[in-house]
């Protein structure tokens, strides 16, 4: 993750670079972020945090994060992306009941009387959910008192403009400028 910080307080610049990196690592978002640009102006106060993701968050089906095969009258699932294991298990329980799901290991489960096509098309994570998590983690890395926020989203670029009391038009303009510089579109 490449982080650039522009700010007026040298101590704050370095501290927030470390904070942003630590918080993104803690929340498991560091791998999804390619580049981040932080504008810190505490005296205004104006904070612009812009991130460019490696890929646009899209909905994930069970087939995207696991390999599936028919096994007798059921389906055997081998999970390839561990992050989605709880969602897959939850989806199978709700679709076929707990008695039909036999979880042999953390990554393997057999579902009795299941239909391969129905299982493979089941959506277990929406792109919106992933985006929400990224925005949440950006909010968490901002100072606590900066509660008035506006979010720009274009494809893989997410920019959060935040201030303490009144969101002035010039703040929005500045946020849009950073958003465009990160690869977002100007018509947000």
């Amino acid at each position: 993750m490449d982080i650039t910080v522009h700010g007026t307080d040298p101590f704050g610049n370095e501290a927030y670079r470390v904070l942003f990196e630590n918080i993104m690592n803690d929340l498991g978002e560091a791998l999804a972020i390619e580049k981040a640009e932080l504008v810190l102006r505490p005296e205004t106060p104006l904070f612009i945090f812009s991130v460019r993701l490696r890929a646009e968050p899209v909905s994930k089906t069970i087939a995207d994060v696991s390999s599936l095969r028919e096994e007798g009258s059921g389906v055997h699932i081998t999970i390839t992306d561990e992050r989605y294991a709880p969602e897959i298990l939850g989806a199978m329980w709700s679709m076929y009941g707990r008695n039909s799901v036999d979880q042999q290991t953390r990554f393997d489960m057999s579902v009795a009387n299941a239909d391969l096509e129905a299982v493979s098309k089941t959506v277990i994570a929406s792109g919106e959910e992933a985006l929400k998590e990224i925005i949440g983690s950006v909010w968490r890395s901002m100072p606590e008192g900066i509660k008035v926020r506006h979010v720009f989203i274009t494809g893989t670029v997410v920019t959060v403009v935040a201030t303490e009391e009144i969101m002035k038009p010039e703040f929005m303009k500045e946020g849009a400028k950073v958003h465009v510089a990160m690869g977002g579109s100007a018509d947000v």
Partner: protein, 313 residues
């Protein structure tokens, strides 16, 4: 003169230690037992320190210096939110506890923000109950300087811990420790441990000054002597709260309900005087189930006596 030390060891032969403390005229300030391990903070006469230390070593324990023993310190953050807790506030509270202080962590209800942060009268009153307070602010100089308003009504010794060194705040606090700020993980690197040591040593210095000022007009009776007497008072003896009596530099906090016990506590006799006459007993602002006992100084007691004999009181 009394010295405060801490025994850290097992419970094996600890009865001998308690007996020796009693024999030399000392007092147990705090006793924490966890399974077979025991920590005892004690106040003993300097001339008997050697024999007590020798016994502690003989029974397999370790003796530690606890310069902050007998004090209760508040570590205050702008809020209790995850932006400020648990780090670095809890790390500082832990460092103070390791030096014998009883530390508490507190978050203000509306302390966040640069222009919108506030402190209420009741928060100020609660903080003023402690021996000292440590305020932890963030990473931006302008923000730290703007938040100085939060400290202006605090009457107890105050230390400011923040990121960059602010300007013009020397009148608001007794000491400033810069280089900490907001943190998202535990302070465990050597530089961060050094910072914690710096905070502890500044707290020691500030409290030493307070003790020195107090020694100009000493308390009528030492708080540990009141503690020894209060320990035999049944509601305190039966109190299940941790540390039912907490020592302060100028008195103590008893964790028993004020309304139910004020009369009985005021009537407890110490050196042939009612406790109510030699101390100001008030309800704690923190919660209704504790009381604060502020011991009067020798001159205050003499003044009260003079007024009484003149028939004015």
């Amino acid at each position: 003169m009394f010295e405060v030390i801490m025994y850290d060891g097992g419970v094996y032969r600890s009865a001998e230690l308690f007996e020796l403390i009693e024999d030399v005229g000392g007092a147990v300030l705090q006793k924490i037992r966890s399974s077979q391990m025991l920590t005892v903070t004690m106040s003993i006469p300097s001339e008997d320190k050697e024999s007590v230390v020798a016994l502690c070593k003989d029974i397999g324990g370790e003796v530690k210096e606890v310069p902050l023993a007998g004090t209760e310190i508040a570590v205050v953050g702008p809020t209790l939110g995850r932006h400020h807790m648990p780090h670095p506030i809890c790390d500082i509270a832990e460092a103070l506890r390791r030096k014998g202080a009883l530390s508490i962590v507190m978050g203000l209800a509306r302390g966040r923000g640069k222009g919108t942060s506030q402190i209420s009268g009741s928060e100020v009153a609660i903080i003023n109950e402690y021996d000292a307070a440590i305020f932890c602010f963030g990473n931006f100089k302008s923000c730290v300087e703007a938040k100085a308003e939060l400290m202006k009504d605090i009457k107890i010794p105050l230390i400011l811990v923040c990121g960059p060194r602010p300007e013009g705040l020397e009148d608001y606090c007794e000491g400033i420790v810069p280089g900490v700020g907001r943190k998202s993980e535990r302070m465990r690197s050597p530089e961060e441990r050094d910072k914690l040591d710096e905070i502890v040593s500044m707290t020691e210095t500030v409290l030493k000054d307070k003790r020195k000022r107090m020694s100009e007009d000493p308390l009528f009776v030492h708080p540990s002597e009141v503690k020894q007497v209060l320990e035999n008072y049944p509601p305190i003896d039966m109190c299940l709260r941790p540390s039912p009596i907490v020592l302060h530099l100028d008195g103590l906090r008893a964790k028993i309900p004020y309304d139910e016990n004020i009369k009985a506590v005021s009537d407890i006799m110490i050196y042939d005087r009612r406790l109510g006459d030699i101390a100001k007993i008030t309800e704690s602002k923190l919660d209704r189930s504790s009381m604060l006992i502020k011991i009067k100084t020798g001159s205050e007691v003499d003044y009260d006596d003079a007024r009484k004999s003149a028939g004015k009181a």
